[in-house]
Symmetry: C2
Subunit: 316 residues, 2 copies
Amino acid sequence: MTDVLADLGEFGLIKEITARFPPHAGLLIGPGDDAALLSAPDGRVVATTDLLLEGRHFRRDYSSGYEVGRKAAAQNLADVVAMGARPTGLLVGLAAPGDLPVRWALDLADGLRDECAEVDAYIAGGDVSSADRILLAITALGDLAGAAPVRRSGARPGDQVVVAGRLGWAQAGLELLAAGADGPRELLDAHRRPRPPYAAGLALAAAGATAMCDVSDGLLADVGHVASASNVRVELSSAAFDMPEPLRAAAAALGADPLRWTLTGGDDNAFVACLPHTATLPAEARQIGTIAEGSGVLVDATPYTGPQGWDHYRRP
Amino acid sequence: MTDVLADLGEFGLIKEITARFPPHAGLLIGPGDDAALLSAPDGRVVATTDLLLEGRHFRRDYSSGYEVGRKAAAQNLADVVAMGARPTGLLVGLAAPGDLPVRWALDLADGLRDECAEVDAYIAGGDVSSADRILLAITALGDLAGAAPVRRSGARPGDQVVVAGRLGWAQAGLELLAAGADGPRELLDAHRRPRPPYAAGLALAAAGATAMCDVSDGLLADVGHVASASNVRVELSSAAFDMPEPLRAAAAALGADPLRWTLTGGDDNAFVACLPHTATLPAEARQIGTIAEGSGVLVDATPYTGPQGWDHYRRP
């Protein structure tokens, strides 16, 4: 085993990485040809793509290669599940500097592979290039198995708004890392590696979700997308957010507002969904609000005035 | 219209870009949700991904935004066609600095759209982020319409080796640009915008190609992949390469070897295929060699000793 990518070469790296990926019945042609061939039994294919850039979406001093791999896969797999589909395969573009330790790149591959295994998905192919800083471009595909896709535009007045998964944990972890804190461990880990509740997302779709998305920009921003796509108002109740102990402790230590983390923190990849008020909620889901006529998002009947979600270009 | 991306913001940019993409019957859910939904009537989906980085794969002083868009789409669409599949949709990850002119990004989108139109494909979705330099991550999907995929591994001794499309033009154009030359125009344009002969690629598949790939790393490198995947030897005849006038003129001007460009120049996205010797060649295809027992690649019965194709990491 050589030490940095420049020693191994592009084709050597591809060989080392692909050797780490097990075969899968759904992957008809895997890495090594001009393109991959994936089973798509539904006759439609769900597809989503995301960029992760070193220094913007992750830092090597905050996260290991393995954790970046888990996170990169998770946020794309969550997008597929948010459509009500089962993830099938991932395509991975990786650009990295020639002095990157080979170990880091292989750990990344292991992280991608292990996150895929959570939903029985696989790595179908990819591309490797060199760049001054690490960048990842992930595309995830999925299959609806005959079901209707769950869009953002189907919410109706009277629906309950529910969430499955953690809110604000990743943002709290990031702010703790930025402050040089070494705990609480579960919050630091939440930033390093989100844990989307994939099964709960699929259960929400099966329970009749009229709209769903994963929380990646922050709860308010993401339900805002649902509100505008569905032409409805989202009314959230802050009392519905049980504030878990680690969030309260971290907020006290940093002088931060845990409600802000909950409402605007991204990257936990929770699932927020709207369901008819008669629907039976999956065990992992809790109601946090309702859908009304109108537009926009209210928290406790008023617009939330704190900082909002993330815009990659907008000047503050 | 504002001037640079930082003024427009991430969501403003996405809105401006997606407004330029026409609807398509195969795109069931387009940009704006967690994921896109594409028709995949075959029940299998071909998928490939490529990274294009400013400074490595393109330069803004050599190519316009529109040309970069055409090129980025072309090289991915060619990979799909090289499997014998019709391209369906493209997903586009774009990261760019906040001071990039909005015009450049919109021209890029137009180039992507227009290249897709060449094969009746469409832009299905994407992601936008900020970065110090422009980077593009393109994923192309395709449909086999019931046909068997054309892999690299099916070449058999006795097959004819044929090519459709240009070889060495893009590399000649790049070297001309690097030398500050302002012509021949058709070579500069060949670097800026490859013209994969998509119809000829599909015709080669229909004519019974046993193996095929697009020429992106250079002919020798790419037929080398076929040789190793198929466990055969590729024997090329340099006499079969008609050396077009612009290549000869440029080689004379630069003191370069036009055969080197033809054998090792990438980025023209020609299609090289192997077909049984009894097969009837499509009009656009010409034979350049044969498949024999053995391994490796020979040119005029000897190994080619000039510089080989591209490795993104390997130190020279």
